[in-house]
Amino acid sequence: MNPQAAAFIGAGIAVFTGIGAGVGIGLATGKTSEAIARQPEASGKITGSFLLGIALAEATAIYGLVVALMLLFK
């Protein structure tokens, strides 16, 4: 296999990190909706920690993207 093809396959595999981020953000969003439904008056604080959580969960997907881009356009 030539290196270019290997790099393309590697980039494709790297983007699989998106699965984890998707599951994580989905769980976080679901729990946030539940929490706001239970206590609407605390929605400000809940939204704050929600944003922090999705930012951290999303980081893995972004690392995957960065690795894929590095493989594709080095």
């Binding site: 930012a55 980081a59 972004i62 993207l65």
Partner: protein, 252 residues
């Protein structure tokens, strides 16, 4: 790849062209030649916008606010309250730093939206690419945040307390706590860079594949919403890191 599109470039070529950061001109100062890239010029534009806006917004301050002053006072009030809620009573000292970061990132992420429309065979007058797609900018911001975190930790905990804070719940945590000072700026920089770059590439591909109708709608999400959310997230994470650094032991 439709042949109707003006440039006969493939998607891969367009994307790698978008990724490259061009040098616009080279400045010669004291025998040094400093390459000025398009990112630097976009940064100057953002600085000019913020500078002019700040001067206009605070020029004629009145006891009873009108016009722009209402907006500025609202923002300052909000930043003050945000800092006190998240960082305790010492948090107000960090409002100028965090507020500047937030305003800069908002302006920087929204600036590309003023690029005039191109396509249908003619080139737009000027193209402003999002400047946070350059990892140098985001790395600079992350390193700045980390310097503030380090110095405020040393200032508020004292040198001894700062060293002791590495061994915080248990002594075997020392390497992990030390690693945090590398991982935090790395993840801050890469998050902003990756998000903006990803959105930019997706918008490019959408503009190539379907230039009619779809781009303006998706641009609302990828440019406006994502840019603002990333500015908020960056500022919020900086706040959390600083709050962690300046929290003091309870002396009861």
């Amino acid at each position: 790849m439709s042949a109707s599109h003006s440039g006969a470039m493939s998607i891969g070529e367009r994307v790698s062209e978008a990724l490259s950061i061009k040098t616009v001109f080279t400045m010669h100062v004291f025998g040094l030649s400093i390459p000025i890239s398009e990112t630097v010029i976009a940064t100057w534009i953002v600085m000019a916008i913020l500078f002019v806006f700040s001067i206009f917004a605070t020029r004629k301050l009145k006891r009873v606010p009108t016009g722009l002053q209402i907006f500025v006072e609202f923002f300052m009030d909000f930043a003050d309250k945000f800092a006190r809620d998240n960082m305790g009573h010492n948090g107000r000292k960090f409002v100028p730093f965090l507020g500047s970061i937030f305003l800069f990132l908002c302006t920087a992420n929204l600036l590309p939206m003023i690029t005039p429309m191109g396509g249908f065979g003619f080139e737009p007058l000027f193209v402003i690419k999002p400047l946070t797609r350059d990892i140098n900018i985001t790395a600079a911001f992350a390193i700045m945040t980390m310097i503030v975190v380090l110095f405020s930790a040393i200032k508020y905990k004292g040198p001894g307390g700062f060293i002791k804070s590495f061994a915080k719940p248990q002594p075997f945590m020392v390497p992990f706590n030390a690693l945090e000072y590398v991982i935090k700026p790395l993840s801050l920089a890469l998050r902003l860079f990756g998000n903006i770059l990803g959105a930019y590439i997706i918008m490019l591909i959408i503009e190539i594949v379907m230039p009619v109708g779809l781009p303006p709608i998706l641009s609302l999400y990828f440019d406006l919403f994502d840019g603002l959310i990333q500015a908020v997230v960056f500022t919020f994470l900086s706040t959390v890191y600083i709050a962690e650094a300046i929290e003091q032991e309870e002396h009861s």
